[in-house]
């Protein structure tokens, strides 16, 4: 699904303390693209991602996704927009502690009429043998796989990742990125990955650079490198 960000502004605080975190963002992400959003800490990456995900509203401008436009959407509509189109993956996995891996994924399968086949998905995620474990019995990488599975099971047209490897070691990070890539091939979802690790940009179709609330660069990546071969 095609995503278009139109002149998005975002302010935080009031009066003197009011700061402009996003200063007019314009960009486009095409259907099935992996887009990596890079930028230093505090540049507004998460804020932008949250606005795209309908978790936060823009003070100005709007997001067009397929036929939807997020401007003027009410909370209820935003909720159904997220329900039907989006999958979120966070830096910390936010799994439900008293549900097993499989059940954690099923929680989101419930949200759609045509979820992906869960056993199939578990296989793709490499979690087959862990499916009946509770989150506290998993490693960080396994927990993140589970969180990705949970976001993916709805087969959403847009998957948003906020620092998906932020809490993981080098090797595990690469495995997760590899998985993301595999999923993109298999299910053709549009993906936006927020990170401050510029190497990850090498696996993307498109790289956006954010600095101080403004997009400083928007490039298509000509020399895509498979995630497994990334090095940093």
């Amino acid at each position: 699904m095609k995503l278009k960000v139109n002149n998005v502004h975002k302010f935080y605080g009031t009066n003197e303390a009011r700061i402009e975190v996003l200063k007019g963002i314009n960009c486009e992400v095409l259907d099935g693209e992996i887009c990596v959003l890079l930028g230093p800490s505090g540049s507004g990456k998460s804020t932008l991602l949250n606005i795209i995900g309908g978790l936060e509203s823009a003070d100005e401008g709007c997001i067009d996704i397929g036929d939807f436009c997020t401007a003027n959407m009410k909370e209820r509509e935003l909720s159904s927009y997220r329900r039907n189109n989006l999958g979120f993956v966070f830096q910390f996995y936010n799994l439900i502690p008293n549900l097993t891996v499989k059940e954690n994924i099923e929680v989101c399968a419930h949200l759609t009429k045509n979820p992906l086949d869960i056993d199939d998905l578990l296989k793709t995620l490499g979690l087959e043998e862990h499916k009946d474990k509770f989150p506290n019995q998993l490693s960080g990488g396994q927990q993140q796989r589970c969180a990705i599975g949970r976001a993916l099971v709805k087969n959403p047209s847009l998957l948003l990742f906020d620092e998906p490897t932020g809490a993981l070691d080098y090797k595990t990070s690469k495995e997760i990125l590899d998985l993301i890539e595999k999923i993109n091939h298999k299910y053709k979802n549009t993906m936006i990955i927020v990170t401050h690790n510029s190497v990850i940009g090498e696996m993307a179709d498109r790289v956006l650079k954010l600095h101080d609330g403004m997009i400083t660069s928007n490039k298509l990546n000509e020399s895509k490198v498979p995630a497994a071969s990334l090095e940093w």
Binding site: L55, R82, R83, F90, F92, N94, P97, N98, V107
Partner: protein, 748 residues
């Protein structure tokens, strides 16, 4: 596809079973008490209603010196009144202390109800009223000697014309110890010597839909007829003037509003605790909620998910509570009635409005309070959940704390972060120790009341007369019963006006020549002072009189006003020098027929004793209840603190803090709050008790002075400390069980 989130619920129940079981227990017992009370009261009401037609309860009786003639029967029949023989023999000195009436077999009126055993068949069989039998320890199979004959007790019964055992219709209180009724077979009754027999005739109107005023004319006609035909009538008592018949139906259910209020206050409290639990759960799971919301779960779905445990416990509590109420608990309340009232086996009635009151309403209260809380909480955006910003704006900043040691500061933070739980802990402790204070304190208070009345009461006997009589001794005065409107109780209360002479022996110093003096209890109850005006009403004539208070007379035994006898007589338009009351220290020999009422010191003191006896079971229930509520409340509300901080505790352990230090951080604040609440609550509770007492006093005609001996307070604090100590053992165990890996695994 079914939502898998529901699988969390049994796991949650399993993990926190102590918490949930405790809540369920309180809820079940509350509802059980409520429903069994309703069921028993409903049953007794049904019984008293049913016996009117099913057992042909009389509309009245009269007693004559000689049997009435056939003509008389015919006359009454023409008047559409069925009159039946209802003869009895009286034993006045059973075991020297009790009066027992032995009735002949009944076939057409006041059909007895068997309670245990069977009806008398043989000439020496007897069935005893079950209340009297219980009070005197008479068992089936015992022999008993009455009216010079020995009988075999074959059963216990309840007579429709004696649902309450009043020895004299003029008595103030029932007397189950010294008065009983019983039933013989016809054969047995015929063997009794004539000198014991009283000829009572009981009657029923053929028309079952008579208006009260028709009944009155019919009954007056009967009296007239009996006199004019030369029958010597000793007693004529229509059912609506017969305390033994009307007392129970009017008394029953009078405490229902109090009981209902009690149940609903408890249910609301439980609902509140659930709200706290859910609330802390939501805070703990903020990130999960944020994630679910971000994934597209709607507010409604999340609310429903977090509402389910409450709903399950509420439904379960309501179902189990009702089952328990209608099976096991109902016995407690039935026994309560069986102890005081001669009713047959109480039918278990199923009354749909009542049932709804004990099922739907508690569930609705719990769901209502909880969904309101959830709905408010869930208004926050998903992002705020993800960022764990659930508090309102101002709270987000870390508060500056005084520069004391780290442990102290940390402790303060724990208290600060758990303010909500601690406030609830405070209210929980307040409520349950208030219940306890009530349960423990009411007895000494009643005893104190009895004591002050005893000390204050200046005479031993009061005789209220139909007309002046020529008996020697005693002080003669004129007493007029008035009603006065009691604003606080929103109802009329009775006030006795004593017309006394200046040299009154029994009310020394009460005499005022102008206006009135009032008893201190009346002054306390109504808040009246010297120079205030008091308006009273004669309920017979509806005339109102206003008097000026001239003096407060230190007298606690009754709600009374005192004034010059002649002034009172003039006010009431009575003959000069007449009187209708004799006070005396000695028993006077006044004929029953001249008396309206005879009140002895024992009657007055007995009334409050009887109250305590009949309340005994209920008070015990209240006490046990409040201790359990104590336990559960304290446990849950302090556990919330530990649960909320499980991760911090886990971190502390990882950092190498000793169990002792961890306890200091997460238990000591709770302990301090609990102990401070215990002590701080006491004066508040005492104050509430005082107000409750004013309210309770408004329902009775007397005034209960607030009086609690110091040991009651000590007992409350003692019980509180012991309860808390028990709970602490649980907490220490659960802190020890928090695994260190939580800190490393479950990132939030």
């Amino acid at each position: 596809m079914r939502n898998v989130l529901y699988r969390r619920i049994p796991r949650d129940f399993k993990k926190n079973w102590v918490k949930y079981l405790g809540m369920l227990f309180i809820l079940v017992s509350t509802i059980a008490v409520g429903s069994s009370y309703q069921a028993a009261t409903g049953g007794v009401t049904k019984y008293t209603d049913d016996i009117v037609e099913n057992n042909l309860q009389e509309d009245g009786y009269f007693e004559v010196t000689n049997k009435i003639s056939n003509n008389d029967f015919l006359h009454f029949n023409e008047e559409k009144i069925n009159v039946y023989e209802n003869f009895y023999a009286s034993e006045n000195t059973y075991e020297e202390t009790a009066k027992v009436l032995l009735f002949n077999e009944r076939k057409s009126i006041d059909i007895p109800v068997i309670f245990e055993g069977e009806f008398p068949k043989n000439h020496n069989d007897i069935a005893i009223d079950h209340v009297f039998a219980r009070a005197r320890g008479i068992k089936i199979g015992n022999s008993i000697t009455l009216v010079n004959k020995t009988f075999n007790v074959v059963g216990t019964v309840a007579l429709p014309d004696y649902t309450s055992l009043f020895l004299n219709n003029t008595d103030l209180v029932m007397n189950t110890q010294n008065f009983g009724v019983s039933l013989l077979s016809e054969e047995g009754f015929n063997e009794i010597e004539d000198k014991y027999i009283t000829y009572r005739y009981s009657y029923r109107y053929q028309d079952r839909n008579l208006e009260n005023k028709d009944k009155k004319t019919k009954y007056e006609d009967m009296v007239k007829y009996l006199y004019t035909t030369g029958n010597s009538v000793n007693t004529f008592l229509p059912a609506d003037q017969n305390q033994s018949i009307f007392f129970l139906p009017t008394d029953i259910g009078s405490d229902a509003p109090t009981m209902t209020a009690f149940v609903y206050i408890l249910v609301a409290m439980i609902a509140f605790v659930f709200a706290i639990l859910t609330n802390s759960n939501i805070e703990k799971e903020a990130v999960i909620i944020g994630t679910l919301r971000a994934s597209g779960y709607t507010k409604g779905e999340i609310i429903w998910h977090y509402l389910q445990p409450t709903l399950i416990i509420a439904l379960l509590g309501s179902i189990l509570g009702n089952i328990l109420g209608y099976t096991a608990m109902i016995g407690v309340f039935c026994n309560f009635y069986y102890k005081s009232y001669s009713v047959g086996p109480i039918p278990v009635t199923f009354n749909i409005p009542m049932f709804l009151l004990t099922t739907i309403l508690p569930v609705a209260i719990m769901i209502g309070i909880n969904s309101l809380m959830l709905w408010r909480k869930l208004r926050l955006t998903p992002l705020r959940f993800l960022r764990k910003e659930l508090k309102s704006g101002k709270d987000r900043k870390a508060r500056k704390l005084p520069n004391v040691g780290f442990m102290k500061r940390f402790g303060m933070r724990v208290i600060g972060q758990n303010r909500g739980s601690y406030i609830t802990l405070f209210s929980g402790i307040f409520l349950s120790s208030f219940l306890l204070l009530f349960g423990i304190g009411i007895k000494p208070m009643m005893e104190h009341y009895t004591k002050t009345v005893d000390e204050s009461l200046s005479y031993n006997y009061q005789y209220v007369l139909k007309a002046p009589t020529d008996v020697e001794g005693g002080e003669r005065l004129y007493v007029q019963e008035f009603k006065t409107y009691f604003d606080l109780g929103k109802k009329d209360i009775g006030v006795s006006a004593f017309g006394i002479k200046k040299d009154s022996q029994f009310f020394k110093d009460a005499y005022v020549s102008n206006g009135i003096s009032i008893s201190s209890s009346l002054s306390d109850k109504m808040g009246l002072d010297v120079n205030d005006k008091l308006t009273v009403k004669d309920s017979m004539t509806d005339k109102e009189y206003t008097f000026t208070v001239n003096k407060i007379y230190d007298y606690k035994a009754s709600m009374s006003i005192f004034m010059d006898q002649e002034t009172l007589l003039k006010t009431m338009e009575k003959d000069e020098g007449t009187y209708n009351c004799i006070l005396s220290n000695e028993e006077l020999n006044i004929d029953q027929s001249c008396l309206i009422r005879r009140i002895s010191r024992n009657d007055i003191l007995g009334a409050s004793d009887q109250l305590l006896v009949s309340f005994g079971t209920v008070l015990a229930v209240v006490n046990i209840f409040s201790v359990i509520i104590y336990l559960v409340m304290m446990y849950i509300l302090t556990k919330v603190v530990i649960d909320k901080n499980a991760l911090s505790i886990s971190y502390m352990k990882v950092f190498g803090y000793e169990p002792k230090e961890i306890r200091k951080l997460f238990i000591t604040p709770s302990t301090i709050v609990a102990m401070v609440s215990l002590v701080v609550c006491l004066p508040l509770e005492a104050l509430c008790f005082k107000y409750l007492l004013i309210f309770l006093s408004s329902m009775i005609d007397g005034y209960l002075d607030f009086f609690l001996p110091a040991w009651v307070y000590l007992a409350i604090v003692g019980i509180g400390i012991v309860t808390y100590a028990v709970i602490n053992i649980f907490h220490l165990r659960s802190i020890n069980k928090i695994p260190m890996t939580d800190a490393l695994k479950c990132r939030e």
